[in-house]
Each structure stands twice: as structure tokens, then as C-alpha cells.
């Protein structure tokens, strides 16, 4: 099973799960952000530049990238929160495009469309570090590239599991109930004493943070980024993870990212029709199952319980 091919796919699934979560978090207070590709690029570029040009260690780069995305998320979030529904969606879409154009034009820093290559690689750096301390992959009976892929996978898996635990606890709490209340009826939520603006900015910037984090990981897993990686299409792809998998339960975007990353890999021959399938998923879901494949009743049924349990809504 330690085949770098499978591990590679698994690693992309995990990154996509984090991206799916990033849009899910924002959606949990009823806000649709199409700017997550933009936040992803901020995280990716920040971390790439800090590690490549400044020589910071990767962990510092990834943290800085996520943090910057978070801060910009707050900055963008505060004024745009006055906007409702489609207005917010379009303003954030505009934000993503502005960021992309900025990265294209800010050549002295970003090398423009050519992108940044030679970004320290998560697995290779790890291996090099260990080798300096006298470790070799053979000790574990692995080839170098197997070790590298395995390392990436394990790190990403640990991160994803932690994130899921984080959010599943958060959503099962007072804060999570506030999120859902806002999503269901913002005015009524406010009347219950919920400071809706605070929670909306909180989820918006948490979404930005996660997207930036996923972007930084992406940069260190592929080793190369360019503005073309963060277009409108990426934003839509992230949206589809949540919309397809289920935008009302935490497992929705997880399932969506998993399924939609594996599917094209399994059906390599069908991938010609992949975007047809994407488009059709969006329309059909909205018509027949706007909440996505997974929702609370289905999860309850899967767990063999009755009633709509809220305590573990996550």
C-alpha cells in the first residue's frame, strides 16, 4: 500500500478536504464566499516566498501564510459583511480576482505568471532533515520516494483529523449553535442575543485561515505555484466540494472532497466529461437535494438513530 501514487492521491484528497472545510465554515453562518481561491493563493504565496526568498523554515512559512490569510479575511470580512447573499458572493469573487491580478503584476516579488518554482517540499525537506541526523529510509524498509510520500500523507492526515475534531467539537457547542441559528434566520438569531456580526466575521476569517493554510500546504506539496492555480475555477471547485458533499453537516465537504478527487482518478478515461459532471451536479443538487448528498437525517439513519440529534450535529 505504500505506493507513492496512492499516497499522492490521498494527500490531494486531504488538502481538498481542508479547502472544502474552508468554504463550509463560512457557509455555516449562511455566507457564500467565492474568494477562497484568493485566500488560498495568499497562503501559498506567503509561505512560498518566505521559505524561498527569506529562507524561513517551512513551519514558519505555513503559519505566516495562514495567519496573513486570516488577517486579510478579517479586513475583507468586516466591510463586506454588510453585504447579503449574492452581493457577498460577487464581492468575494471580485476579491479573488484582484488578488490573482496582483500576483500576476507584482513581478518583482512573485515572478508574475511564471510562478514560483523550487518551493521546499514537505516530504523531501523532512527526509533531508532526518538524513542529517543519520536516519535513512531503508531503516524502515522504504525507498526514499516512498518515505517522502508517506511522510506527507501522515502529516496531512494528522492535520485533517485535528481540524475535524476541532470543528466537530466547535459545531456541537454554544458557538456552533449560534452559527446555525444565524444561517437559519439571522434576525431571529440576533434577537436571541447572538452578536451576528461577530460570528459572521469569525466564520469568514476562519474560512480564510483554512483556505490560506490549505494553500500553503499545497505549495509545499507540489513545490510550484503560479497565479493560474488560483482562478475562478478553483473557487468553483471548492464550492462544489461542499455543495455536492453536503453544506449543512461537517462530513459533507469531507465526503465531497473525497469523492470528487477520487472519481476523476478512477475514471481517468471519463475525465473528458468531468466538467459536464460538475455542472450537472450543481444543477441537480440544487433542484433535488440542495443540502447535498449528506445531511443530518441521513447521518442519523447511517448511525441507526432516530430523530434529529443536535448534540453531535457535527
Amino acid at each position: 500500500m505504500i505506493n507513492p501514487y496512492y499516497l499522492q492521491i490521498a494527500s490531494f484528497i486531504l488538502i481538498n478536504i481542508i479547502l472544502g472545510l474552508s468554504i463550509y465554515i463560512t457557509l455555516s453562518t449562511g455566507q457564500l464566499s467565492l474568494g477562497n481561491a484568493g485566500f488560498m493563493s495568499i497562503g501559498a504565496y506567503t509561505s512560498a516566498l518566505l521559505t524561498v526568498k527569506v529562507g524561513l523554515p517551512m513551519v514558519a512559512g505555513i503559519l505566516a501564510g495562514s495567519l496573513l490569510a486570516f488577517l486579510i479575511g478579517i479586513l475583507i470580512g468586516i466591510p463586506t459583511l454588510r453585504l447579503q447573499g449574492v452581493y457577498l458572493a460577487i464581492a468575494t469573487l471580485g476579491f479573488g480576482e484582484v488578488v490573482r491580478v496582483l500576483f500576476i503584476n507584482w513581478e518583482s516579488l512573485t515572478s508574475g505568471a511564471v510562478g514560483i518554482a523550487g518551493i521546499p517540499h514537505l516530504g523531501r525537506t523532512m527526509l533531508a532533515g532526518l538524513q542529517e541526523r543519520g536516519f535513512s529510509s531503508e531503516q524502515w524498509g522504504l525507498k526514499n520516494n516512498e518515505f517522502i510520500s508517506l511522510t506527507i500523507f501522515i502529516i496531512l492526515l494528522a492535520i485533517t483529523v485535528l481540524l475535524l475534531a476541532f470543528f466537530s467539537r466547535l459545531f456541537a457547542s454554544r458557538v456552533g449553535r449560534a452559527f446555525r441559528a444565524i444561517r437559519l434566520d439571522e434576525k431571529a438569531a440576533e434577537a436571541m442575543g447572538i452578536h451576528t456580526t461577530y460570528y459572521k466575521i469569525l466564520t469568514f476569517s476562519m474560512g480564510a485561515l483554512l483556505a490560506g493554510f490549505a494553500g500553503a500546504l499545497f505549495a509545499h506539496v507540489t513545490g510550484y505555484i503560479s497565479p493560474a492555480d488560483f482562478t475562478y475555477h478553483r473557487a468553483v471547485e471548492i464550492l462544489v466540494f461542499a455543495v455536492f458533499g453536503g453544506s449543512e453537516v461537517l462530513w459533507g465537504p469531507v465526503f465531497g472532497a473525497l469523492f470528487l478527487t477520487v472519481m476523476p482518478e478512477m475514471l481517468r478515461g471519463m475525465s473528458e466529461y468531468r466538467y459536464f459532471i460538475y455542472g450537472t451536479i450543481l444543477v441537480v443538487m440544487m433542484v433535488f437535494r440542495p443540502q447535498g448528498v449528506l445531511d443530518q437525517p441521513l447521518l442519523d439513519r447511517l448511525r441507526g438513530r432516530r430523530g434529529g440529534g443536535g448534540d453531535d450535529a457535527a
Binding site: N3, P4, Y5, L7, Q8, I9, F12, V101, I104, N105, G112, A113, V114, G115, A117, G118, H121, R124, N144, N145, E146, I148, S149, T222, G223, Y224, S226, P227, A228, D229, T231, H233, R234, E237, P264, E265, R268, S271, E272, R274, Y275
Partner: protein
């Protein structure tokens, strides 16, 4: 997701002189699995199709000769880095190929190259023209003519012929190929001491270039250097000529496509490009290839097909020299390839495994590509 037409690339030259292949003792053929990463689906599929056609034709010919037995394992990347990387992992680890041809795009190579290099698998791009490709590592090769070779060639010839003193530049700033093409162009112009009247940018998918062209026209340059893929390039030419910009256009390899003539019609006349591949070249080897390709696939081979065709021949040659399907031996054999004559002309790898060759400089005249001199 659509990186489509982005990738128009350059070419490359190769040279494998079949005639040189030693006709000596016929041992059992050297068998090897060669992986191919190409764009089979999605927006760039047209390039991927030409490329895989070129590979298949070369494979059939090589296997028929009996010295090598090459099995091609073709994987799709859809032009996306992630999928290209997954495909490379599959080829390297699951299918245990000896070497990889592709991927199609430079962006993909920047992700796949380091992985192949780290895994010790020789990889050769047949259409990756951006800067810094073979510098990824000692297992990374290419036979595609980089823009840094193609553009100075066309610029030099055009400057000499038209006595160009000043130029306006126009390029797509959101695309790797057109951007790095522009960088070469700018360097070439500076090297020749040309006066740059203005530098204008455009973005992918733009329909209206009149604003930029109006500005360029007002600066009255002797020529326009335009780094664009033919998609945009043809539209730019047609709008420019309509506005009365009749100066010569000098383009990169990405501008080199018969489609320029289809789209821009007479407006295409006066476009100078450098390219490794010239289908109407008066050369028996080229003629034979064109004829055979046309018969098999119903259309003329473009530079992608030609580069791919030569690339597999180079692989075949290296395989013969290596004598067995061994990744390291294959790498060393490839690195030693010099002066092969392929359909693209005479080809060598330099010390950095990059391309050494003389491109053809062509001009569109009377509605078709002709040798420019």
C-alpha cells in the same frame, strides 16, 4: 482549470539519424516501458493528441526495426499539475517505467520534474519551453526548443532584414509561456540596442485589443514584437492590420500555427516566427514523415507531433546505447546524445540537458508560412 491553449510551445529539435543506427549484429531487441504524461482530455487536448500521435508513430517504426521494443504507457494530466503529479507517481511507482516523456506544459513539468528527479527516473519534455526546466535536476531533459533560443533567432533576422530601430512590445502577462517569451524578447531587443517605444500587456480571454493597439500605433514603432499564443495572436493581428498597423510582427514559437492564417486571413501576412518545425521543408526525411503522418491521422503534423516523434527516437537511441531498461543507464545515455538528425533537424543536448539546435525562421507571406531570409 483550463489552461488550454496556453501551451503552445516551442519546439525542439532532435535528431536521430536513423541511418546511423548501427546495422550490426541483430541481438534480441532491448525492451523498455516508457511512460507518457499528456493532455488527453480537457482544454489542451488538441496538443496532447498531436503529441501522442507522434509518439505512437515513432514507437511503431522503432519496434518494427527490431532493435528496441518500446511499450508506451500513456497517462492523462488534463493540463493540471496535481493530476500530472499523480500520473507521474503512477508511472514511476506502480508501473515501474524506465523513463517518462512529457508532461505537456511547463507548469506541469515544474511539479513533475522534481519528483521524477528525486526518484531517479529520466524525464524528457517535448513541449516544455519555459526557462529553468532542465535546471530542475540531472534527470530532467527536453527536446523542445525554448523561447530563449527561438525568439532571439527571429528577432535577429527581422531586425537585419527590415532595418528595425524601434519596437513596440505586446504580451500576455498572465500566461507562463507568453510571459517568459516576452522576457526573452525584451532581452533580445536590449541586446540589439533597439528602442522600445511602449510595452503593453493583455490578459487571457481578452477580445478587444484596440486600446493597446491604438497606443502602439501612436508610438510609430518600426516593428511590433508580440509574445502571444496563436489564439490571441491571430486576433491581435487581425485587429492591428484593420487599424492600419502594417509594420512587421515578430512572434514567439507559440505564435506559430497555421490557425493564425485561418483566423487572421490576409492580416497574418508579415508575421515572423522562429520554430523548430517546418512542414514544407525541402528535406526527404521531413517529407516522408509528413506524408506518413497525414495518411495515418488525416492531418498535417504540427510542431507538437514532430517534437514528440523525434523525442521517442531519441529515447530509442538512448535505450540502444544503454543496452537495458535501467533508469540510470538510460539517463547517462540520453545525456550523451549529440548531433542527431531528426525531422526537426540537427539536435544535441548541452551540458545542462537542454536543447542545442538552429531554429527555422519563417514568415507568413501570401497566406502561407515560408522560409524567411
Amino acid at each position: 482549470m483550463r489552461k488550454i491553449s496556453k501551451f503552445f510551445l516551442t519546439a525542439s529539435i532532435l535528431a536521430l539519424v536513423l541511418a546511423q543506427a548501427i546495422p550490426a549484429a541483430q541481438a534480441a531487441p532491448v525492451a523498455a516501458k516508457i511512460g507518457v504524461i499528456s493532455i488527453i482530455t480537457g482544454a489542451g487536448a488538441a496538443y496532447g493528441e498531436a503529441i501522442t500521435n507522434g509518439f505512437k508513430m515513432a514507437r511503431d517504426e522503432l519496434n518494427a526495426k527490431g532493435e528496441v521494443k518500446i511499450e508506451l504507457l500513456i497517462e492523462d494530466s488534463s493540463g493540471k499539475q496535481e493530476q500530472a503529479l499523480a500520473a507521474a507517481q503512477k508511472l514511476i511507482n506502480s508501473q515501474q517505467v524506465t523513463a517518462i516523456l512529457g508532461p505537456t506544459l511547463s507548469t506541469e513539468m515544474k511539479v513533475v520534474g522534481p519528483e521524477a528527479n528525486a526518484s531517479g527516473v529520466p524525464i524528457m519534455g517535448t513541449s516544455t519551453t519555459a526557462a529553468g526546466i532542465t535546471q530542475i535536476g540531472k534527470y530532467v531533459f527536453r527536446n523542445s526548443l525554448p523561447e530563449s533560443l527561438a525568439i532571439p533567432a527571429s528577432v535577429k533576422k527581422a531586425v537585419a532584414k527590415y532595418n528595425i530601430k524601434s519596437v513596440a512590445m505586446l504580451y500576455g502577462n498572465d500566461d507562463v509561456f507568453t510571459k517568459s517569451g516576452f522576457d526573452s524578447m525584451k532581452k533580445a531587443a536590449t541586446d540589439l540596442g533597439l528602442k522600445v517605444t511602449t510595452i503593453e500587456e493583455f490578459q487571457k480571454g481578452q477580445a478587444d485589443y484596440k486600446a493597446q493597439l491604438t497606443k502602439i500605433k501612436a508610438t510609430k514603432p518600426d516593428a511590433v514584437f508580440c509574445s502571444a499564443l496563436y489564439e490571441e495572436g491571430a486576433v491581435i493581428l487581425s485587429q492591428a492590420r484593420k487599424m492600419g498597423i502594417n509594420q512587421p510582427f515578430v512572434g514567439g514559437n507559440g505564435f506559430n500555427s497555421p490557425k493564425v492564417i485561418d483566423i487572421a486571413k490576409e492580416a497574418a501576412n508579415g508575421l515572423v516566427v522562429a520554430t523548430p518545425w517546418f512542414a514544407d521543408k525541402n528535406d526527404p526525411q521531413v517529407k516522408a514523415f509528413v506524408q506518413k503522418y497525414e495518411k495515418a491521422y488525416g492531418k498535417k503534423p504540427d510542431q507538437f507531433a514532430a517534437q514528440a516523434y523525434d523525442a521517442l527516437y531519441i529515447m530509442g537511441e538512448a535505450l540502444k546505447k544503454a543496452g537495458q531498461a535501467d533508469r540510470n543507464k538510460m539517463r547517462d545515455a540520453l545525456a550523451g546524445i549529440r548531433n542527431y538528425n531528426g525531422v526537426l533537424g540537427k539536435f544535441s543536448f548541452d551540458a545542462e540537458r537542454d536543447v542545442v539546435m538552429d531554429p527555422n525562421v519563417l514568415i507568413i507571406k501570401d497566406g502561407k508560412f515560408q522560409i524567411f531570409n
